[in-house]
């Protein structure tokens, strides 16, 4: 991740503040920064979303393509994730610099979605063993100011909510082979149920307390963080410890509990907001990238 240089005095200042539940920008330890979400920003995709969390900006585009299902699960489609750390975010990402971070992020996303209930993969099947929908979820990091995992997961949830997969029907042609036909009406599409899509919460251990949504300065003061991905019911789909330090088992129990609490509370307002935005329809004011 992009790093900032933090002096010893500043580290002590941040540490003491967090000990008293007061962060540099006035937030509590479990508060998020100002978040802005907008869906349907890129018209060439089947679903897209852009999220700005403080100064972190992430753009997700989802494209649905028809492919062959995986041999072991012939009646399910699948998702493919790719995270691109663009050199726009920070000069450290120029060339191959951002590749390591990108692979780490996409591998974590595969783990987060590696269960039966997050996305209903059976609904992505067209004909068992031959055709299925493959959703390519591409994440682009535009600006990097800490807390990438959270921003990416929320953006993916919003983009999947916005995804419109065209309806197809199979017909057999003269020789007995199968033909796929896309329906003529561009508005005839299938939507995904994103109720169970989890959101990732990153908790950074700073001193003896943990903080949610750490900025780059706070991250520089912490030795280890815990990433936990939570669904709206409170089930944990993936956890991971990142960073070069070690954690006490007691801190891990505390952080998992806090992460579950924060994550669970994130889903309801998010779904409400997405449904509200959808209901505005064509009257919605598009902010785009310049707002």
């Amino acid at each position: 991740m992009a790093t900032v240089q933090v002096s010893e005095a500043e580290k002590v200042y941040i540490l003491h503040g967090i000990r008293d539940d007061l962060r540099v920008d006035g937030r509590g330890c479990e508060d998020y920064r100002h978040m802005e979400i907008e869906t349907d920003v890129v018209s060439n995709t089947d679903g897209s979303a852009k999220i700005t969390l403080g100064h972190t900006a992430v753009l997700v585009g989802v494209k649905a393509e028809i492919g062959k299902p995986r041999p072991l699960v012939p009646n399910e489609g699948y998702l493919e994730f790719f995270v691109d750390c663009s050199a726009n975010a920070t000069p450290e990402f120029e060339g191959r610099g951002g590749e390591e971070l990108g692979t780490e992020l996409s591998n974590t996303l595969y783990k987060v979605f590696n269960n039966k209930h997050s996305v209903d993969l059976k609904s992505l099947s067209i004909s068992a063993g031959e055709h299925c929908w493959v959703l390519y979820v591409d994440v682009l990091l535009l600006q990097c100011d800490g807390n990438l995992y959270d921003a990416i997961s929320i953006a993916i949830k919003a983009a999947l909510f916005n995804t419109k997969i065209p309806r197809v029907h199979i017909s057999s042609d003269d020789e007995g082979g199968k033909e796929i036909e896309l329906s003529d009406d561009p508005y005839d599409c299938m939507r995904l149920d994103v109720e169970n899509v989890p959101c990732i919460v990153t908790l950074c251990k700073v001193g003896h307390r943990h903080v949610v949504d750490a900025t780059l300065q706070e991250k520089a003061c912490s030795v280890a963080s815990l990433i936990i991905s939570v669904t709206h019911k409170g089930t944990v789909t993936c956890t991971r410890k990142v960073g070069g330090g070690s954690l006490d088992p007691e801190s891990i129990y505390e952080m998992t509990e806090a992460g579950k609490r924060v994550g669970k509370a994130l889903h309801a307002p998010l779904m409400k907001l997405l449904q509200q935005e959808e209901s505005l329809g064509t009257k919605r004011q598009k902010v785009g990238f310049l707002g």
Binding site: E99, N107, C238
Partner: protein, 318 residues
């Protein structure tokens, strides 16, 4: 070097089939392939243009089974006679100092899982930036031999290998006293010879043993333990079948958890879970893994003491 014996034999057998290759072509190809195998940098080649490949689409014969393989039952005793819901880890065979060329090495066998680890270093580091002036750098690389799993893997590092290498790095970094090795690099290479479940946990144990065998200063040994949660019961140190069986009942708790633990400092240096579990199950699982690590600790300590005694036998009494 024992670690690299396997790729060479594979190379020779494919080259024998090529009747048209000239001698210079052979040498160039050998040199290029050697560079390809030896590189431990993170360059990813999506396709392998230097080897003669088999047919484009090959599939494992197990896909064509008449009836699907029976999933292991989620109640009752496990296939290898161990107990569920108890901290019953597989007996472990460990040996240090098997690879003579490496600074330190270790081999671990747990059930059918076999892995070996070699440590090279501390060496001078190629890249120098500010952090390198004060701290050493740890490079980890974890690879699977293509014949290690029941489905054939490829020699090119997939994203799973890179992910495991990263987690190995995160688990080992807190334990090594890197501030004692400024401007140096310590390389850890783990090779999985046979994957029969819970491979990351055993890789962590093996790597920390190899580091100790190499004489690298550490705060504590790092031990790994993993569990697999299946419904209401869990199995510690799962085998490959237990890890990969998708539970037939789509119950709430289904997933795996791996924990890397420093026993004498009581610190968790690495944790990874997937699947879906409730938070209480996760916390209970972490406690179980810590218990599993404590069970393994005396065996590892004994193996290390034996290796040290073998290398430098105590002076005789007379």
């Amino acid at each position: 070097m024992t670690q690299l014996l396997l790729p060479n034999t594979q190379l020779q057998s494919t080259l024998l089939e090529q009747k048209e290759s000239t001698r210079t072509d052979f040498c160039v190809r050998l040199a290029l392939t050697r560079c390809c195998i030896f590189s431990t940098t993170t360059t990813t080649m999506p396709t392998d243009t230097k080897r003669v490949r088999g047919p484009e689409v090959t599939q494992s014969p197990s896909l064509f089974l008449c009836k699907p393989a029976a999933a292991p039952p989620s109640h009752g005793p496990r296939a290898d006679g161990r107990q569920r819901d108890q901290v019953d880890v597989r007996p472990v065979f460990v040996r240090c100092g098997l690879v003579s060329q490496a600074k330190g090495s270790a081999y671990i066998e747990a059930g059918n899982t076999k892995l070996m680890c070699c440590v090279y270093g501390p060496r001078e580091t190629e890249r120098k930036d500010e952090t390198d002036m004060k701290f050493g750098r740890l490079t980890t690389d974890m690879r699977f031999a293509p014949f290690s799993c029941s489905e054939r893997g490829s020699w090119i590092q997939g994203s799973q290998d890179k992910d495991l290498s990263l987690m190995l790095h995160e688990s080992l970094q807190p334990a090594v006293c890197l501030h004692k090795y400024p401007r140096s690099q310590i390389e850890i290479n783990v090779m999985v010879l046979e994957n029969s479940g819970s491979v990351l946990a055993h890789a962590v144990t093996c790597a920390s043993l190899a580091l100790a065998d190499a004489g690298i200063e550490m705060y504590d040994l790092v031990l790994g333990c993993s569990i697999c949660q299946d419904g209401a019961s869990y199995v510690v140190d799962p085998s490959y079948m237990e890890e990969n069986s998708c539970g037939s009942l789509s119950s709430e708790n289904q997933g795996g958890l791996t924990v890397a633990f420093l026993p004498s400092l009581n610190q968790i240096s690495g944790m990874q879970s997937d699947g879906e579990m409730t938070e209480e199950t996760l916390t209970a699982g972490v406690r179980t893994c810590i218990e599993g690590c404590y069970k393994l600790y005396p065996v590892i300590q004994q193996a290390l003491a034996k290796a040290v005694r073998r290398a430098a036998p105590p002076p005789s009494e007379s």
